[in-house]
């Protein structure tokens, strides 16, 4: 086996340099988990595009949807694969019937702790607001998603939210490093410490402490309900936002909705030795499964960011430009963008733009 040690700085983010990569004959192996709902259709879009572009990436495809979930082996294999490859591209997996929540296990088990969603207005997509360019950074392993619940007395359920200093410091440092790396001017900590004084209070204190090491970056704090209001009144005020798990879920979905929806917003998630790329708003859209009407733009953009992470900048940049052009020129409109083009149509449009640009 030959390994490629990423000795060079990864352009996407320096935290994940020096990751051993599985590479055979010049091709990097990446785990691909299409997931449930329209996931497989979106994954197909990516594999088609990569094949046409002759991208030196080999996909290790792992079917991990609701039907396959009954077999614990499949799930553990997926985790092993991701650990081995260090890079993954995935859709959303629906909760399996036996209670175990797989999206959570991914993040906790692999410690993929930072989810980054950049919401940027597309000139070709009609939305209520323009000029948005914010980055929502979400702590993705603890908080309200600890899955620790019990019914202490019949009819009374307690659900625990865990906030630790270690993870709060870690995500705060990630956010400031990311802001610095990408020349962003301001980091806003989103919290509800007026009500949850100890937990969100701890998170907020950690962010404040870390902010002191980055004097060139402006730091502010905002209560989450005010943030949601501000996002629909004046979203242009936001730059980088850092927050615990649940608020991150709400804010990134809200912001994604502001710039065009789940079909156009990509995301990147990082752990110490792993990077996972997936659409920014995690929805399976089960009702439309098999109909090929979903917009693959978000998934394709996520895969383009993955290419850049793998140092395949030329291909990555070309793909990003192509998708942006298709969306801005409105040359192909899927249902979510007001048209009736199919997933295939969008894939073809992106490929044709790639050819045009190359």
């Amino acid at each position: 086996q030959s390994f490629y040690l990423g000795g060079r700085q990864c352009s996407s983010f320096s935290c994940t340099s020096a990751v051993p990569r599985t590479k055979y004959g010049g091709k990097t192996t990446v785990t691909l988990i299409p997931g449930d709902g329209v996931g497989p259709e979106l994954a197909e879009s990516v594999t088609t595009i990569f094949k046409e572009m002759a991208v030196p990436v080999e996909f290790e495809k792992i079917e991990l949807n609701r039907e396959q979930m009954k077999d614990e082996g499949s799930f553990d294999y997926a985790i092993k694969s991701l650990k081995r490859n260090g890079v993954g591209l995935k859709g959303v997996i629906n909760r399996s019937a036996d209670f175990r929540h797989h999206n959570l296990e991914f993040r906790g088990g692999l410690d993929v702790y930072a989810n980054v969603v950049r919401c940027m207005s597309f000139e070709g997509i009609q939305t209520h607001h323009t000029g948005i360019d914010l980055i929502a950074i979400r702590e993705n392993t603890e908080g309200e998603y600890s899955s620790l619940e019990h019914e202490s007395v019949s009819g009374v359920v307690e659900s625990l939210k865990i906030i630790t200093q270690e993870k709060s410091m870690r995500i705060a440092k990630f956010a400031f490093d990311y802001a610095r790396e990408h020349n962003r001017k301001k980091v806003t900590c989103i919290h509800k410490a007026n009500i949850m004084k100890l937990s969100d209070g701890l998170f907020k204190a950690c962010c404040k402490e870390v902010s002191e090491d980055y004097p060139m970056i402006e730091y502010e704090e905002q209560i989450v309900d005010n943030t949601c209001q501000q996002l629909v009144i004046n979203p242009q005020q936001f730059d980088v936002m850092v927050m615990p798990n649940l608020y991150g879920n709400l804010v990134s979905n809200l912001a994604a909705g502001l710039v065009g929806g789940a079909g156009v917003v990509p995301s990147k998630s990082y752990g110490e030795n792993i990077a996972v790329f997936e659409p920014g708003a995690r929805h399976t859209w089960m009702e439309m499964k098999g109909m090929y009407v979903a917009n693959p733009a978000a998934m394709v953009l996520s895969s383009a960011f993955m290419l850049k992470h793998l140092q395949l900048h030329e291909a990555g940049d070309l793909l990003i430009k192509a998708v942006n052009n298709v969306l801005n020129k409105r040359s192909c409109l899927t249902i979510d963008l007001g048209g009736n083009a199919s997933t295939h149509d969008m894939t073809k449009a992106i490929l044709s733009e790639v050819e045009h640009l190359a």
Partner: protein, 349 residues
């Protein structure tokens, strides 16, 4: 207690309603509400009480006895914005009031206001948030497990979930609203949000004419900013309700225009303005009484005084649409009393 001749000779009985003017612009906007209600000949006499926190030796916070007695007697109240002193060791006034009167359901309608243009005015917003108001993430139960590890407890009970669901469906029926969607994160918080949903479903079964469905909270956030006109009544636990109702207030133009009502035990209903005390506007008397006024109208409708409420609402909407005599926060230059006088003029015809 000035009573106009018309009121005295009216055969409708006079309702006594508690009024907490509150702090900051509170007393000033309360004056406007009283003036406007008088112009519309609303058969209400106001019982004003001051509310401030009293820290007891056992560490609990309470509000003055006469304020409490007034609400228990009258059942209906209108409340202005209140300041909570930070760092004085007492719990917020709003929380204390909620606990004192067992206010379990918070109702926050969000309807596009003519004359106040937001990016969402075109498709129009007309939704109502029903928020469980006693438990959930606001239980206040937190502790440090070991240094650097904090645990915060979210409490969901069958009873509280059922109470708010029952109120929501009854409200929908009374107000002709056809759709209720429960917002939740039961994919993540299976037991707690799961229990909440279970109660919603049980109550929904008793109201077959109302269309009930469920939606993930994050999906709702995504969808409402794309097309808010698709949302009608939304029912949810405490934290989500707090966040979401501020979101919907933002869609129509902000907290300065958002009315709110709180239902308590034994038929208690307290309506309030949810914005802040705006201390900087006090000197020039430039606060906007619209939110408090709209809350007052919710109150009138609850009391069965629909025709007076409609009359006042028509005058308010006309004033806002004309945009000639409106307050600073929505782009005008009028003071609070000038705006109120304009509304009174329109009511008197």
């Amino acid at each position: 207690m000035f009573l106009s001749r018309a009121l005295r000779s009216s055969c409708r009985s006079l309702h006594t309603v508690t009024l907490f003017p509150g702090d900051g612009i509170g007393p000033q906007i309360s004056e406007s509400v009283k003036k406007i209600f008088d112009a519309a000949e609303v058969p209400i006499q106001w019982e004003e009480r001051q509310v401030y926190p009293i820290l007891e030796p056992n560490g609990k916070t309470r509000i003055p006895d006469d304020a409490v007695e007034s609400i228990f007697k009258n059942k209906i109240g209108l409340k202005g914005p209140m300041r909570t002193a930070i760092g004085k060791g007492h719990v917020s006034l709003n929380l204390t009031i909620r606990r004192t009167f067992g206010l379990y359901a918070n109702v926050r309608p969000a309807k596009s206001v003519p004359g106040v243009i937001t990016p969402y005015s075109k498709e129009g917003v007309d939704c109502v948030i029903m928020r469980e108001n006693t438990e959930g993430e606001y239980s206040g139960i937190e502790h440090q497990v070991v240094p650097g590890v904090v645990q915060s407890v979210k409490l969901i009970t069958r009873d509280a979930s059922r109470n708010v669901a029952e109120y929501a469906f009854q409200y929908a029926q009374d107000h002709g609203r056809k759709n209720i969607v429960a917002l939740h994160k039961a994919n993540i918080m299976k037991m707690s949000d799961g229990m909440f949903l279970e109660q919603c479903r049980e109550v929904a079964a008793r109201y077959p004419e109302i269309n009930y469905r469920e939606m993930y909270l994050d999906s709702a956030c995504l969808k409402i900013v794309s097309d808010p006109s698709k949302f009608d009544v939304m029912l949810m636990p405490n934290l989500y309700g707090d966040i979401f109702s501020d979101l919907t207030a933002g869609l129509i133009g902000g907290l300065g225009l958002a009315p709110s009502g709180n239902m308590g035990k034994d038929g208690i209903a307290i309506y309030e303005a949810v914005h802040g005390t705006a201390d900087d506007l006090v000197e020039a008397n430039k606060g906007n009484p619209t939110a408090l006024l709209m809350s007052g109208l919710m109150m009138l409708r609850h009391m069965g005084l629909k025709s007076q409420a409609d009359k006042i609402e028509a005058a308010v909407l006309e004033t806002l649409t004309e945009r000639k005599v409106i307050t600073g926060d929505i782009g005008g230059t009028a003071t609070n009393p000038e705006y109120a006088d304009e509304i009174c003029r329109k009511i008197r015809g």
